[in-house]
């Protein structure tokens, strides 16, 4: 927590990154510590998934308004990717990608509450059938029917979770902890466990019920000197496609925004506590030595940037999420600010560790070579989707936002303008950049096995 006596200050995105500058030699500069010995047999796989956590939500990245010691510890034990992007900043589409390694336009889940196309195996089905993994899932699924839907294949379903995080996340932890103890006693087949937490998604309800959850005045006056500062791009509304321009107008005062941020970060800390207990169980059972852990989120959170709350938006606060990998053979203490990573890469990475191919050719990549400090050709651009026909093309330096049928685009130089405040689309020289990014998008689209129903 920030010192209650200190004045809140604005966060600068550069600070987040610079805070890890020493380690930020990243993988391009070589491992910061020699990788531990690689596992000999198929490792266990643990995917810890949370909901609506933006990259800046970790105290390890310098955010003074939140304390996430357990997530920080996980990041210190592994590699944290700083250019990790959601495939779509909404729950169901992003989760369909995490579970299949395919983009939402391929899974058919281009909005909430659609089913994954039936001919795409999910992570559990694939690793169970192809590599003999025991597969279990606990918590939020957010595709129709939830994880207990009989149509969901491939996972043993652990009882727990499914409600709001404040109420249910500890249940996910306990169910997963019991599962780990049971697996530790057997030590036979490797397992894949998905621990899917709801937090910090509870913040969504602040917008659904502003009449009850938002107050005209600070409801707890003792918090007056503990409220986070507003981000520097809070009032920035760069012109662009109509779908990118949906500021939240429900708050009338800065104090309301800041209390919203205060509540959000407490939810992040609740998540951190649960993840900490799960990681302790992994240590206590001795399973940590042969378990690859991936921690990530489905999408980020507006957090007052560009006047936004929730997600949906093409800005980095919605798109960028933590992506941490830890376990045997993984370079510890590294922060990779170079490689563009996506939610689709969970499938590729786990398939790589399990020693099986992807279910079918796709753009999913394994980050394992990056984790082990091996040279590898990596993608130089990445596409994400938003609000149906919106697309975001990321390259090392720039980002182009387009929406089919809308002539307006957004072009950001993320090196010069990391808070995305200046749309360069009308600037001299932008036309070439826009054209080159459109060309990349066209090539990406040609590789999509588009779901017939989308």
């Amino acid at each position: 927590m920030p010192d209650p006596g200190s004045q809140p200050r604005a966060l600068r995105r550069r600070e987040f990154v610079a805070s890890g500058a020493a380690a930020l030699g990243a993988l391009a500069a070589g491992p910061s510590r020699a990788p531990a010995q690689a596992p000999r047999r198929r490792p266990n796989l643990l995917l810890i998934l949370c909901d609506q956590l933006n990259l800046d939500g970790l105290s390890a990245l310098g955010n003074p308004h939140v304390q996430t010691p357990h997530l920080d510890r996980l990041a210190a034990r592994g590699t944290l990717f700083l250019e990790s992007h959601s495939t779509n900043p909404v729950c169901s589409p992003a989760r369909s990608s995490l579970m299949t390694g395919r983009m939402p336009v391929e899974t058919g889940v281009v909005q909430n509450d659609l089913r994954i196309r039936a001919d795409l195996p999910n992570l559990g089905e694939w690793l169970g059938a192809q590599a003999g993994y025991q597969t279990a899932y606990c918590g939020k699924w957010h595709l129709p029917g939830g994880i207990h839907d009989p149509l969901v294949k491939g996972f043993q379903r652990l009882a727990g979770g499914g409600g709001q995080g404040a109420h249910d996340d500890h249940w996910v932890t306990q169910a997963c902890e019991a599962y780990l103890h049971e697996r530790a006693a057997r030590r036979a087949e490797p397992f894949l466990l998905v621990a899917s937490y709801m937090q910090p998604h509870d913040i969504c309800y602040w917008m659904i019920h502003p009449e009850t959850l938002v107050s005209d005045r600070l409801p707890y006056p003792q918090l007056a000197d503990r409220l986070p500062a507003l981000p520097p791009n809070h009032k920035s509304r760069p012109p662009g496609p109509a779908k990118a321009d949906k500021a939240y107008t429900g708050f009338t005062t800065d104090e309301q925004w800041r209390y919203y941020l205060y509540a959000y970060y407490r939810m992040v800390e609740m998540l951190d506590a649960d993840v900490g207990r799960l990681l302790e169980a992994l240590d206590e059972t001795g399973l940590a030595d042969d378990t690859i852990v991936i921690f990530t989120a489905d999408h980020g959170e507006g957090a007052g940037r560009h006047g936004n709350v929730q997600k949906w938006h093409p800005y980095d606060e919605s798109m960028k999420v933590p992506f941490v990998v830890a376990g045997p053979g993984v370079t510890a203490g590294a922060r990779d600010a170079t490689h563009l990573v996506s939610g689709i890469d969970v499938m590729g990475t786990f398939c790589d560790y399990a020693g099986v191919p992807l279910p079918a050719p796709s753009l999913s990549r394994s980050v394992r070579p990056l984790l082990e400090g091996r040279a590898v050709d990596w993608r130089d651009h990445l596409v994400s989707e938003f609000q149906g026909d919106g697309r975001i093309i990321r390259t090392a330096r720039h980002k182009l936002v387009t929406v089919t049928g809308d002539p307006a685009v957004q072009l950001f130089d993320l090196q010069a303008d990391p808070w995305e405040t200046r749309n360069l689309a009308d600037q001299p020289g932008a036309a070439d950049l826009i054209a080159s990014h459109r060309k990349l998008l066209d090539a990406w689209n040609r590789q999509m096995d588009v779901c017939p129903t989308t």
């Binding site: 009882a159 727990g160 404040a166 109420h167 169910a175 103890h181 509540a263 649960d274 169980a281």
Partner: protein
């Protein structure tokens, strides 16, 4: 003090429906004595729903108290049951001395799901918590008072109305006494007279206008009684601001934190 309704208080607004039909407790109550109380758990998602219940039985000891815990949380796909005991001091925060809690998942038919039973016990030893779980012992360094989520239900009922306004600071063993969250504070909040109990009815409200009278339906509570309440507010890392509402005799009637709320209900099924 003018009578108010739940909607007039930020921490109670989202629980307004949960307080419909609330049974206002009557009769003597000694928060420092032996008692058995139940609260019902509400969750405010798209709608306000019931999702569980908690029963605490307090037995005074020579220099503290033993709380017997029975908790159920339910959800599609199953139920979480937690049972055990917390032994705590008779101090202001009911600081924990030792505890043992076991949780298990039940399937929709109420049968125990194999492999889901977890038992943990612990005790305070000086500047450490010694915690015993299925994988053995672990030690957690602590400083200052440590209380837990269950013992706070006891503590807030025994706090005198005139406790220091600057409040109490402590570490919280949260999430069924499993996660330590230092840096908590509990301060006295507002005092209020609240209309509680009764039933919600529709009434017609007449508004005279120049062109005639407009009638519109409004809800009102009939048969409510006025109850004097004191709020205590807990803030700190890892918890949403929490408000504990107790009546003049100290009974905890409502606790709220973000989307959840516990509402006293002697008929709650545990």
């Amino acid at each position: 003090m003018p009578a108010t309704q739940a909607r007039d208080h930020f921490s109670l607004r989202h629980l307004e429906r949960a307080l419909d039909g609330f049974t206002v407790p009557t009769g003597p109550f000694d928060p420092a004595g032996a008692w058995s109380q139940r609260w019902e758990l509400f969750e405010y998602g798209f709608r306000l729903n019931r999702h569980g219940a908690l029963r605490l039985d307090r037995a005074p000891l020579a220099d503290g108290a033993r709380l017997t815990v029975a908790l159920r949380k339910f959800r599609v796909g199953g139920t979480l049951r937690c049972e055990g005991e917390v032994e705590c001091a008779a101090d202001a925060l009911a600081t924990v001395r030792r505890w043992r809690l076991a949780t298990v998942a039940l399937d929709p038919a109420g049968q125990e799901v194999p492999g889901t039973r977890l038992a943990e016990s612990g005790e305070r030893r000086g500047d450490e918590l010694l915690i015993r779980g299925p994988a053995g012992e672990r030690r957690v360094a602590v400083r200052g008072p440590v209380t837990c989520d269950f013992s706070l239900f006891d503590a807030v009922q025994r706090l005198p109305a005139g406790e220091p306004a600057q409040g109490l600071t402590f570490s919280l063993l949260d999430r069924l006494a499993r996660r330590l969250k230092p840096g908590q504070s509990l301060v006295r909040g507002e005092a209020a007279t609240l209309e509680l109990g009764g039933r919600r009815v529709w009434r017609e409200q007449a508004t005279p206008l120049a062109a005639g009278t407009v009638y519109r339906p409004v809800t009102a509570i009939e048969g409510a009684v006025s109850v004097n309440l004191t709020a205590r507010e807990q803030v700190g890392p890892g918890v949403l601001p929490t408000t504990w509402w107790t009546d003049a005799q100290g009974r905890l009637l409502v606790m709220t934190a973000g989307l959840i709320g516990w509402v006293a209900n002697p008929a709650a099924q545990v």
